[in-house]
Symmetry: C2
Subunit: 316 residues, 2 copies
Amino acid sequence: MSPTPSLGAGPPVLAFDVGGTSIKGALIDAAGTAHGVTRLPTPAAGPTSAQAVLDAVARLAPSLTAQAPEGVAPTALGIAVPGVFDDEAGVGVYCENLGWRDVDFRRLVRAGFDLPTVVGHDVRSAGLAEMAVGAGAGAQNALVLALGTGIAAAVFVRGEPVTSGGFAGEIGHTVVVRGGEACACGNQGCLEATASAAAIARRYNRARGARVSGSREVLAAARAGDAVARAVWASATDALASAIAPCVGLLAPEVVVLAGGLAEAGDALLAPVVARLDELLTVTPAPPVVKATAGENAGLLGAALRARAVAEAGSR
Amino acid sequence: MSPTPSLGAGPPVLAFDVGGTSIKGALIDAAGTAHGVTRLPTPAAGPTSAQAVLDAVARLAPSLTAQAPEGVAPTALGIAVPGVFDDEAGVGVYCENLGWRDVDFRRLVRAGFDLPTVVGHDVRSAGLAEMAVGAGAGAQNALVLALGTGIAAAVFVRGEPVTSGGFAGEIGHTVVVRGGEACACGNQGCLEATASAAAIARRYNRARGARVSGSREVLAAARAGDAVARAVWASATDALASAIAPCVGLLAPEVVVLAGGLAEAGDALLAPVVARLDELLTVTPAPPVVKATAGENAGLLGAALRARAVAEAGSR
């Protein structure tokens, strides 16, 4: 995993990234360096989970501020959350994992935080970090794919994330194999049911009667010559290329960045995806497909970037 | 076909739409009404075709100006051209039909026209017209599909067309059927080889030993109960939905507009595309899929919109 890059000079801020199991928090100083990355367990899903998440962030904030180098006081706070999130409206449209729907986070944070606070989507936050200091730096039109338990994308056009009410980038349910793997969404052959880290492990376990816990072990088995593992891995990379190709045809991005746990496979993932994409793209030039470089704290850095934007807007 | 709508008030301009067989020209007056829509044959393809096209436009321009209502003098000139065209650079990247490659139209029109002149892509020009006065009016994020001999899209994000060096919107070569119809691009099962008006006629003719000249006759045969025609039509609408679905997943547009000759089929096209799209989209809300309403002169109107923008920028 790449180390956490510096965001460069800007207002010091607090940043939080809310995941399914833990909330990460850090102080980002005026030089853009993350300090004291800390984790709290994510509150249980339920009807009050949104408020519980914000309460947990509010509890974590003072200890992060206390760890700050002398003279550094955060000027704003950014929070990245999962699910379908409308960054422009500040509304958590839907989050299956944490159990909320149509939550007005903008209103909640106004009431609950002393610092100017902004909430944004986790995948788009990680994408913002890739575009600012990672593998997408310098690009105007780009796709940043988050390949983990699920699959989603952050879409950038003219340097800005596309939100579309929170629904932009939901590429995980592109049907890549007709009549393929059953997906939780009700369809068959979705990208996420075929090529996510979870799907790769699940498909291998079923075919092999094995009990591996992640895609990393499937890749290791493939490297050791396991034909079943090889077939599962190949179908996953093929599915990824099949789902990326129409996105490239539509937007012709300058770069496609692969992020998330699955991207840690590096060339074992990139090489077959690039090769298949080259076959599929006959008119649109194939863009570089590269591994993310903003590190495992990319979501946190993106939340910090949003907070810095708020701090800068407020100080004008 | 819908009548040509008015563009509304703005500078009077000349507009041209360069097609494979003819160049259409018109004067758009200060009320936004198109006058004297006139056609010239498109010059033959070849190494000097770009200049020949501009010469033909320059010859047509005075007669259009002469037809203008008294006191109306065009203030700028817009030209829509086919192929891969980089609107931002003013460069004709590639046009198979007309035989040009890497032509600096911006330089050529500066030398060859007295009026401020702008050249843009034909599909994006028609899209601009749909967004301004047609079925996309009011939308910020939208797809306008041109379904004719070929298939391409104009992509709008935050109200502006996405260009990506001219390559945005090349959805015709999305592979929708693995091992399907051979496509001119070298792949098999491309959208364009399956569902374009030309492909529908070609596939029907081959399967039926018939010699129809267009998709309209295939639709008529399907309506008359011809099982082969029905199967070809159904596979085409299915292919369209399969290619639109990943675009909707990626961008979650507010509307998808179907334009071009094939869209004239109306509900016979829209209804099965909408039904299949509803099946394919489980997470992203299915956007309205509607027939274009900017009419057969949409490309011309889009060229006029570009010319008006140039006229307004110049008068500031």
